[in-house]
Symmetry: C2
Subunit: 121 residues, 2 copies
DNA sequence: TCAATATGCAACCAAAAGGTTGCTTTTATT
DNA sequence: AATAAAAGCAACCTTTTGGTTGCATATTGA
C-alpha cells in the first residue's frame, strides 16, 4: 500500500523539519543557549549581547515560539521567555534514528562485501 | 575578556546553524532519509516519490551539499549523491551539550529551591 | 500625575528561498 | 548516426526571512 520501506523515520520527519528550521539560525541558536540556563528571561535581557534591534530579537523569539522550542509568559510590563526542552529532545531522537539506520545499512554493506558479492561501485 | 560564561556551546554554534538550516526542510529531510541507506543515488532516482521537478530536487541536493551533509560524484552521465554522516553527528553532539546544560541548570535550580532560598518566581 | 521602561504593532525593504519553464550539453544505447 | 536519458544552466517568478524605523500602549516608580 503506502510506501513504507525502511525504518519509521517518515512520520517524525514532518514534525522535525520546523524545529530544525527554527534552530537553523545563529541568532536563534544563541537565544537557545542563553535560555538553556533553565530560567526565564525578558526580551530586553535577551537583547543584551546582540547588535540587532529589540524587534529583530523579538521576531526570532516568535519563530522559536512557533516551533514550541520556547514559551512566553507575560509578567507585568515584561514578557518572559523560557525554554521547552521537549522539541529539541524530539529532533535528537530523530537524528539518532537516522544515524542508527545509516550505521545498520553500513554494516550490512560491509558483510555483503566480505561475502565477496559482485561489484558494488 | 571575551564573554565566555557557561559551557562551550558557543564555538560549535556557528558551525551547527547551517546544518540545522539545511535540515529544516521536509523535502531535504526526506532526501536525507533516502540517502541514509548508505548507498549512492542518482538525481532521477532521488526524484522518484516526489511531486517536485528534478531541478527543484537538484537545488535541495546542492543545499545539502553546501552544508556537507551530502557529497556528489559524477559517474558517466549521472551524478551520484551519498550521505556524509559527520555533520549530522556534529549537530547531535551540539544538541546533547544544550540538553546537558539545561539538565544541570535544572538540578541546580532544584537544590536551590530545596534549600529554601528566597522567591524564585 | 509624569517620566521612564518594556513591549507591541505596522509598514516597509532587500535579499534569499523555493519553485517553475525552456534549452543546452554530455553520455548511453541501438 | 540518431535517439534517448541524465543532468546542467539560466532566467524568471512569488513568498518568506531577516531586518529596519516610527509610533502606540501598558506598566512601574518617583
Amino acid at each position: 500500500m503506502s510506501p513504507r520501506r525502511r525504518g519509521d523515520l517518515e512520520p517524525a520527519r514532518r514534525t522535525s523539519a520546523p524545529v530544525f528550521a527554527a534552530l537553523g539560525d545563529d541568532t536563534r541558536l544563541s537565544l537557545v543557549a542563553k535560555l538553556s540556563d533553565g530560567q526565564r528571561h525578558s526580551i530586553t535581557r535577551l537583547c543584551l549581547g546582540s547588535a540587532l534591534t529589540r524587534q529583530a530579537i523579538t521576531k526570532h523569539l516568535r519563530v522559536l515560539e512557533g516551533a514550541r522550542i520556547v514559551r512566553s509568559v507575560r509578567s507585568g510590563r515584561e514578557s518572559l521567555f523560557e525554554l521547552d526542552p521537549a522539541p529539541i529532545r524530539q529532533v535528537r531522537t530523530y537524528i539518532d534514528s537516522v544515524s542508527e539506520q545509516w550505521d545498520r545499512a553500513l554494516s550490512r554493506l560491509k558483510s555483503f562485501v566480505e561475502d565477496g558479492a559482485p561489484g558494488q561501485g
